[in-house]
Amino acid sequence: MPSQRWRDLAVQGLFAAGLLALLWWLLDVTATNMAERGIRSGFDFLNDPAGFTIGESLLPFDSADSTLWALAAGLANTLRVALPAILISTLLGTLVGLGRLSPNLLLRGLCAAYVETLRNVPLLLQLLAWYFVVTDLLPLASEALQLAPHVFLSKSGLSLPWLADGALFDLPLRGEMGISGGAAVTPEFLALLLGLSLYTAAYVAETVRAGILAVPRGQSDAALALGLTRVQLFRLVLLPQALRSIIPPLTNQQLSLTKNASLAVAIGYPDLVSVANTTLNQTGRAAECIALIMAVYLILSLLTAWLSAWLEQRSGRWAERS
């Protein structure tokens, strides 16, 4: 139907023209507004010295370093909290999800209560509450709680044994003036890690449960009839088949976790969004800073989508092999 095709083309042409006109108008208005208010634009500020300090950073950072480097330090901080949180939430979520399928009534109830509580309260509220618990209700560093030998928890965060410059461990010690030695984790990091991991674990648990329930019942009956133990049943029969339906939503949830790490701004952990927010307030380059945040997260999303596809392919092969 050539006339239909011409009509489609015409409609799209008009649509594109209208859209371009709208964009042009918006840009024009923006340019006028910015000129009138004396707002400069461009990404040149990235090379200027940042002029602010970052509370904690994986990358060596100093206020004389460039703004670009500050943002990189922020991104490194985002990943520094997101990667361990992904690991913890996946493990804990899997356990809770399996717990919800347990024949034991108490365990089932406990896991259900966990999921229903954590999922139905905003993450921001949970983060604020964790941060308050760590910074206000825990004892001072000089009276830190000892969780295990040389593991201390206090208002100043968590101290752990860590590899020293030599081959041996550097052990934290509790003294009159607080805790010295070892590796210390700040209260901000701790609250964010706890909040993100526990919240996401509730979603992971639901995904795992749904994935396992989606495996036909006959599979477990057959496996049990063959004399497999419950552990073998899970490892060899249910999990490989369930993984195929678990992995796509799971990667989505872990991507959400990474996006949710941006809530760090509310408790003062210097992640990418916090650093960009500070930069925005200092330079006034709102459009550029927001565009940078969005671009970084879009790239992370694309990478995750790619990783998810790769994992799906692999899990398919694993299922065929076992």
């Binding site: 489609d8 409609v11 799209q12 649509f15 594109a16 859209l19 918006l26 208005v29 923006t30 006028t32 507004n33 910015m34 009138e36 208010r37 707002i39 347990s102 024949p103 034991n104 009534l105 108490l106 365990l107 406990l110 229903e116 509580t117 999922r119 139905n120 309260v121 905003p122 993450l123 921001l124 509220l125 949970q126 604020l128 509450a129 308050f132 618990v133 206000d136 209700l137 419950r230 996006k259 949710n260 941006s262 809530l263 701004v265 509310a266 969004v273 927010n277 925005l280 709102a286 459009a287 800073c289 927001i290 945040i293 969005m294 997260y297 879009l298 999303s301 694309l302």
Partner: protein, 359 residues
């Protein structure tokens, strides 16, 4: 005797089915015996319920200080809204909640439901904003607490749904340009965190609008939430559209329905019905996400708690009790929504395909 056997069988099945289950039961019971007394002690026995800061200080966190809620509930629930006028947000909240509950429980038929919504929303704005019927005007910068949370969530859902339907249809369009744009919008929004969208709304919208054309921050943030929610909802609806069997389309065409008629009367009703549970999930997410507007300085429930406590040295150390209080409010909202969606899933008729009419 019989009952004893039954109890025994029940215990065996649910708590002691094998060695692992038995150990778990004993461990969990031991844990409960260890934790529960302390928890009950803190929550109830040693807790202070009176708004008495000295009493709270005397207990020194050995018991909860629920007095903080008793003392501050008006700021927590209504934010900076003028004290003498707070019956207005209260009434507005009750009104909105009543309409939402009425819709959920299907107490009203379709026509009176539409009428209730059409009346309730303007009534909400008139009560909150005033300026009419002898009510003193109250600027939206003073709105806060629970009514603001409800307003943000409800409006987001109501406005995002039609937008999401349009975008979902756009993604099925035969026009590559339209399809591409809709896809671009969805992927862009779903790829970035909500905070960045809120920053966009609060910092950037003022710059891209013509001079003399200012919209207040509440509206801008609301627009941001709507755009964000619509992207997620449209993916859900697209799933629903794909789930409608192709035969439905063919049959509609064979009956002589136009493309739009088929969409409006045949495809969309089935598609939307199929994804009601996922849409409820989105509604729960939107409700929780409204807490993020605190970051751009709007005092909804989470923000108004800080408003109530941050500046008050006497009550500042009882944030945890405050968080638990508003946490309970959020939880009640989210839990009732997810229960509601589960009753729908269980098949109360809403999810069943419509009975073909013979007329």
């Amino acid at each position: 005797m019989n009952q004893l056997n039954a109890t025994h069988a029940w215990l065996r099945r649910n708590l002691f089915s094998d060695a692992f289950s038995g150990t778990t039961t004993l461990l969990l019971l031991a844990g409960a015996a260890w934790w529960l007394p302390g928890l009950i002690d803190w929550m109830l026995l040693q807790a202070v319920f009176k708004p008495d800061a000295a009493a709270c200080q005397a207990v020194n966190h050995a018991g909860a200080c629920w007095g903080v809620v008793a003392e501050k509930y008006r700021v927590i629930l209504f934010g900076r809204y003028p004290h003498a006028e707070q019956w207005r947000p209260l009434l507005a909240t009750v009104l909105l909640l009543a309409v939402i509950a009425g819709s959920g429980l299907r107490l009203l038929n379709r026509r009176s439901l539409a009428a209730a919504w059409i009346l309730a929303l303007p009534a909400f704005f008139i009560l909150m904003g005033g300026g009419r019927f002898g009510l003193t005007p109250v600027g939206s910068d003073l709105w806060g607490g629970l009514p603001l949370t409800l307003l943000l969530a409800t409006t987001a859902m109501l406005m995002a749904l039609p937008l999401a339907i349009l975008v979902a249809l756009g993604r099925q369009s035969g026009l590559p340009l339209l399809r591409g744009l809709c896809q671009l919008y969805v992927e862009l929004v779903r790829g970035v965190p909500l905070i960045s969208v809120l920053f966009l709304a609060s910092f950037l919208f003022p710059i891209i609008l013509p001079q003399g054309f200012t919209i207040d921050v509440l509206l801008r943030v609301q627009a941001g939430i709507v755009l964000f929610a619509a992207a997620y909802l449209s993916e859900t609806i697209r799933g629903g559209l794909q789930a409608v069997p192709g035969g439905q389309h063919d049959a509609a065409t064979a009956l002589g329905l136009s493309r739009w008629q088929a969409m409006r009367w045949i495809i969309l009703p089935q598609a939307l019905r199929a994804v009601i549970p996922s849409m409820m999930n989105s509604a729960v997410s939107i409700f929780k996400d409204t807490s993020l507007v605190t970051v751009v300085s709007l005092y909804e429930l989470t923000g108004s708690l800080s408003l109530a406590l941050a500046g008050d040295a006497e009550w500042r150390s009882y944030y945890l009790e405050g968080y638990l209080f508003i946490g309970l409010i959020y939880w009640t909202g989210c839990y009732s929504m997810s229960r509601f969606s589960r009753t729908l899933e269980a098949g109360t008729g809403l999810l069943r395909p419509p009975v073909p009419s013979t007329a």
